[in-house]
Amino acid sequence: MRSTTQGGAVVITGAWGSLGRRLVRRLHRRRSVIALDERPFPECPKDVEHHPIAFWRKRVRGILKSGHVDVVVHAAGAQDDRTTLDDRAANVAGLQHLFEHARDLGIPKVILLSSASVYGARAENPQLLSESAPLLGVGASGPLRTLTEIDMLAQSFLWKHPSVDTVVLRFVHLLGPIDNAASNYLRLGRVPTLLGFDPMIQVLHIDDAVEAVCLALVPGCRGVFNVAGPPPVPLSQSIARLGRTSVPVPHLLAKAALQRLWALGVVSYPGAELEHLRYVCMVDDAEARERLGFTPMNDLEATLRAVDEEGWP
């Protein structure tokens, strides 16, 4: 199989995640793909080498060494799961090791899939944040905090090690038949919003995100890129376009309720995500459009509708 593909292998961590899975399917016919994920991967294509281990395991170095690896795509960071402190430590330290392996083994490229939420939604934000804006998602707790730490790690690696082409892709809210905060939110029958607040939001179709990763695979391309989809709209409009009703809730009430529900384990967002319903956290994607040549294929309607698509259980 490897003879029909060009170049070296692409290693994808978190390959069973919503982005990882789509990336594997997209790439496996063109390139040899090595999938890393401790979860079972029942739909894994036959020509993909699947290793059922987490990316932070010691064995990963051996896998990277034995294959002729061109790119490592770290898709395991962008998870919206409830993670414990141990998981977080493993995640962040694991990425550090992954980067070191890449440097030691001469792997030319590492791509981190991150999120624009790392900038944090704040009243002081400029309408569009550039890649050099400070990452203020750190103050948050839970998965967002892990992601911010990972993103910062990748950024420092980018500057410290010019031998590896590090790429950080910060996606705006990803929508699709997937299990993430933004899609789950829009899938609610009655969508809670914050009374008196209606920030502009940016959304991106999951397939367009996969396309952006493919563009970043080009050798020589390095840097941090904000990736956004169709032009922004007010949150209320995106809910209305999906034919759903929004239920405005006073901020203090919503915050208290969310914290209570989080403590009970009913919801998977500890509360920082609430700020996204209140303030803008939009990005300037000029870099991605110019240097990556990225243009979203899905318009606003298609991107929003994607949350209700087939494939969502």
Partner: protein, 307 residues
């Protein structure tokens, strides 16, 4: 003409229920109500709003959340103040260049009615109607409803990046370089131009934007402030707390019906290096001087405050 005006609708409702004998009287009332609405908004009001809507639709929507429908309703309220209450006299609005422009105005009147009047002028009195954009303080963004309303009528959070982005998109951006010092002057210091901040000059130089000096007369006399209470302001976390005796008189909460006069000056092309502080200060002085001269000229021409 648009029938959704509350006044017209009320008369409509009355007409439907009135007896045939009263109908003729009501028809006459309706006609004169329409006349009043026309006089306030102008006959081409809807056309103007449509022009603005088409402009932003053509751009693929506004990045900052401007909404033509909210602009329409806000303009109805503001227009009645602009045309009926303050009877604003407008000079030179058609000399404002099309495309990106920085409007730099003197700031006065305790509450920013001057900004609303300039916005009305650009939307309702100019030959080519356009939306005036302005920047508001961060804390406004934390207030429910108000933050949403402001962003729908075109105001944006006061961050330098936002200003540049607006100008890149060819907008008309209003700046008050005096800031809070200007608007909260006591009555004794009326029409004394305060010190200018220099951010607008850097902005104009970096983006190569023409600057239009704007003079507003009449706002100074709308609220008579006898001074400020800095300690109380600090305790209430307000930027300033003016003492306005008229607020204690019933009906004194409304600004006094002074006559507003708005003068748009000759567009100025600032020259020089945006990073050089001396150049920036010199340019700021030039613009301030233009506004200062405009104020003196306007005051000399003005025969009375209220008409």
């Amino acid at each position: 003409m648009d029938r959704s005006s509350a006044l017209v609708r009320l008369v409509d409702l009355a007409a439907a229920r009135a007896s045939p004998i009263a109908r003729r009287l009501i028809a006459r009332a309706r006609a004169s109500a329409q006349e009043v609405v026309d006089r306030i908004l102008g006959e081409d009001f809807d056309e103007r709003v449509e022009t603005v809507r088409a402009h932003y639709t053509g751009l693929g929507g506004d990045l900052f959340g401007l909404d033509a429908e909210t602009v329409r309703s806000a303009a109805r309220v503001c227009a009645s103040f602009h045309r009926l209450y303050f009877r604003t006299e407008v000079h030179g609005v058609d000399d404002v260049p099309a495309g990106r422009v920085l409007l730099v105005a003197n700031h006065s009147g305790q509450i920013p009615v001057d900004a609303a009047v300039i916005a009305c002028t650009l939307l309702l009195d100019a030959k080519r109607p356009r939306i005036m954009r302005a920047m508001v303080d961060h804390w406004v963004g934390t207030l429910p409803f108000i933050s949403t309303f402001f962003s729908r009528v075109g105001e944006v959070p006061g961050v330098p990046e936002n200003a540049e982005r607006l100008l890149e998109r060819g907008e008309a951006l209003l700046v008050f370089p005096e800031g809070i010092r200007g608007i909260s002057k006591p009555f004794g210091q009326r029409y004394q131009l305060q010190e200018f901040t220099h951010g607008f000059v850097r902005l104009a130089l970096r983006t190569d934007t023409p600057v239009v000096p704007v003079v507003v007369l009449g706002a100074e006399e709308q609220y008579l402030s006898i001074g400020t209470l800095p300690r109380l302001a600090r305790a209430l976390k307000m930027p300033v707390f003016p003492m306005i005796p008229q607020l204690l008189v019933p009906g004194g909460q409304l600004p006094l019906p002074t006559r507003y006069r708005v003068y748009f000056g000759e567009p100025m092309r600032l020259q020089g290096n945006a990073e050089d502080d001396a150049t920036v200060a010199e340019n700021a002085w030039l613009v301030r001087q233009a506004i200062h001269d405009g104020i003196l000229r306007g005051l000399a021409e003005r025969r009375a405050v209220f008409w």
